[in-house]
Amino acid sequence: MSKELDADQVAGNGLLDRRVFLRQGGGIIGAVGAAVGLAGYSRPVEAETLVVPEWTKKPGALFEPYTQPSKYETKVARGPIPPSPYNGIGPGSVRAPLQHLEGMITPNGVHYERSHNGVPDIDPAGHRLLIHGLVKKPLVFTLDALSRYPMTSRISFVECAGNSGGMYAEKPAEGTAQSLHGLVSCAEWTGVPLAMLLEEAGVDPSAKWLVAEGADAAAMSRSVPIEKVMDDALVALYQNGERIRPANGYPMRLLLPGWQGNMNVKWLRRIKLLREPAQTKDETSKYSLLLKEGKVAQFHFPLDAKSVITKPSPGVNMTSPGLYEISGIAWSGNGKITKVEVSADGGKSWAEAALSGPVLSKAITRFRLPWRWSGGPAVLQSRAIDETGYVQPTREKLIGLRGSRSQYHCNLITSWGVAANGEVKHVYA
């Protein structure tokens, strides 16, 4: 390694300054940049003979009304598909292939799904949204009516409160970024602010909560404080520009940016304004946190800051020593991500990653950091910090606070162990 390269190391085990890649070709520090840029990449030993490929020598396919991903990209798929012990019906979830995605947006076809009794086949013409309870004037809306309302768009993550629950386990679960953390996705949601519909119905001052209910066979229902609804709740009709996919609530879902995925009620058909929460099954029996000494923390709504490295990660292994870009995702239900730090030595030393692309409140933020892998063992970690100053906790800290039986809201720091052969595995550090 040259002196220039050493100067770029900002944390143990080869983590480099986040600006290293940006410098390439830049005049002032061009010399250092060029040295870093080139010395790191392993080049093919033998040059290839270039041939003109078959697909260039014949005309391609004609137009399709709705395109699909390349047939070579089948690994970019939701999974694992859970077995059904109930003859093909019942609750479950499938996860987004985080380790095969880039940027901040989850494509609609691979957005994660959690459902409690399947995806209903809803004819939009027959779907209704009822608003009633503590209002002056109960109202029913059709999809056509809502489509005429002024719309708001926002990019927001949705995360199941049970995501990463396996990280509480005593021994590190074997798995990928997808199987361990894939119950999170991020999309641009467009719809009607729920506050506008509530104002039309005339909310009674005694209403402090509402219960939202889906039109699915679970009639999934959750209580939501009215302050949140007035702040940023949407009746979302569109997901990344097209109508919401059936698995994500077609033709409309509640969007509560940053709060437990389960509360973002899909197939939304009813909103009832109440003085107090309804205490539904999914806010008592489920999605509550069992703590030490048997206490139960209920109505802990926002998902706290969290991050995970997606490249490298289990299944996205290292090939040969040299220069890499570490890439990952960070998000917080309490606002913007302000900083992500990365460690390659199991948390002994940390380097600040670059936040890449838009940094939006309650959205997935992509982070990146150059890493010169020596070919030796390494333990990669990332920790997210949000605009409230909250720092993503270590495993030890989170379990110290809550015990290991709370199942939900697990946002502890993930460790990926890199072996000398380049294989990446989930480890505890």
Partner: protein
């Protein structure tokens, strides 16, 4: 003078109206009585509970026909959730067994949930009497009500669940 000041007042009124938020108002009004056809929500104080009643004994029969296939004999569980037992497992470090009996804070949640979602293949097929009876039976299996208990809109909200006092509300606070 009179006509001018009238015109001025009219102009003022128009501008006030223009400044108030305008929304499309495309919802169809409906009465609360009509909304009942869709209203499944039951509150802990019993609000929303329909007329009807059911006993532990009646519940046992319905359970054997419509629930046992998934929740096993006497709610012992698997493949679907255990509905019975687990008391004493929520403390310390033993793996917790969370059931209606050991964990649930409100008895009204049983009525609300069974009516809307169970049995899994035929949700919203049970009568109010059947749901009261099933609630009574599951509470009895957990030793919370006696074998001769009957549940209705009056008695169900009065049932005190053993784990009620362990629940505390985080919102609007922040949790470590």
């Amino acid at each position: 003078m009179f006509t001018r000041s009238l015109a001025f007042t009219a102009a003022l009124l128009v501008s006030v109206a223009a400044n108030a938020a305008e929304t499309p108002n495309l919802g169809t009004p409906i009465t609360e009585a009509e909304a009942k056809a869709w209203d499944l929500s039951i509150l802990p104080n019993g609000e929303g509970l329909p007329p009807g009643r059911g006993s532990v004994q009646q519940g046992e029969l319905i359970y054997e026909q419509k629930c046992q296939g998934c929740h096993a004999e006497k709610g012992a569980g698997t493949p679907a959730d255990k509905l019975v037992g687990g008391q004493g497992t929520l403390n310390g470090d033993v793996p917790p067994v969370k059931t209606v009996g050991s964990y649930w804070p409100y008895a009204t949640t049983l009525f609300d949930y069974i009516r809307r979602a169970m049995p899994l293949a035929e949700p919203q097929s049970l009568t109010a009497d059947e749901v009261y009876a099933l609630s009574a039976y599951i509470l009895n299996l957990n030793g919370i009500v006696g074998a001769r208990a009957t549940m209705d809109a009056k008695s169900l909200p009065k049932v005190k669940m053993p784990n009620r006092d362990k629940f505390f509300v985080v919102y609007p606070g922040r949790f470590p």
